[in-house]
Amino acid sequence: MSVEGLLAVLQNSTVGRTISGNIGSGWWFANIETLHVLATSAVFGSIAMVDLRLLGVTSRDSTVSRLSQEVLVYTWVAFALSVITGTLLFISKAETYFHNLQFQLKFLFMALAGLNMLMFHFGTYRRVLQWDNALPPPIGARLAGALSLALWICVIFMGRWIGFKT
């Protein structure tokens, strides 16, 4: 099956048509989208807390590893909820979203944010115990924090813009 065919199948499925309001109450999209906003807010808020600590701006009385341990649980739970709700929203307008520039850019920014996280995790963070308390944190940590913050803000901007372009 071609990509276009798959998108059509998703969008015309019972799930897709229920969420988009073609069948049923018509309130599914609004509610799922609001849950998506709640979940993504928690993702961004918790990531921003760690990023700002990596920059040495806030939470300076906590070590980087301890703060990560405390906060990243929220990130992953909220991220799972974001993926579930996001997938459902995608299914309802698969053809439109797939070809939407802001949607594509949003995923590009998320991919870059993920890459940045991986590079940090397997790079500077491997020696975290040597700089856990250091202020300012090493340049690698500050760079990763700044990039992460900027990329996730771009993700939110693109996410909001999708709604104005579809």
């Binding site: 609004a30 906003v37 928690a42 961004f44 921003a48 906590s62 906060v71 909001r160």
Partner: protein, 172 residues
Amino acid sequence: MQPAHIVVRHWADWISASPLSQWLQDQLWIVPTSQSIHLVMIGVVFGCALVLNLRILGISTSGRPVSTLVRTLVPWIYFAMVVLLITGVIQTITEPVRQFITPAFWWKMFMIVVVLFATQWLARSVRKDPEKWDNGSTRPRTAAIVALVSLALWIGIIYCGRFIAYTWELHL
């Protein structure tokens, strides 16, 4: 005396016809940009509220003591609320009818006032007696209720905010 919804509609029409609102309405990038900044700050507030209140509720057992969380996170909540107010005012001046005629908007405003009082009460109580608050067994019993209500309110605020867009045309 005219019914309230007629009065607010009158205000909304007046704002909407003002030169500032007219100018803002012509700048098509302003509302999406303002809403995006609004969303970034909602993330800051909601992230802080989750970490702080779930810690008070004892659902998060590891991590910093409550007094440290209050000292670190409450100023960020207040900072974000200022930006949220500014962007919210910009959006309201640009589209006053949409906001003023929608019950979701007024519910949101009401819940914001309540949650800010709850946050301030919490912050003040913790600053007055940090040791008592850091220890789960000596923490006042009202703390858990306030934390739970605060979280519910933040969720309700975000819900109503998003639902302005989905319900305002029903009230035209």
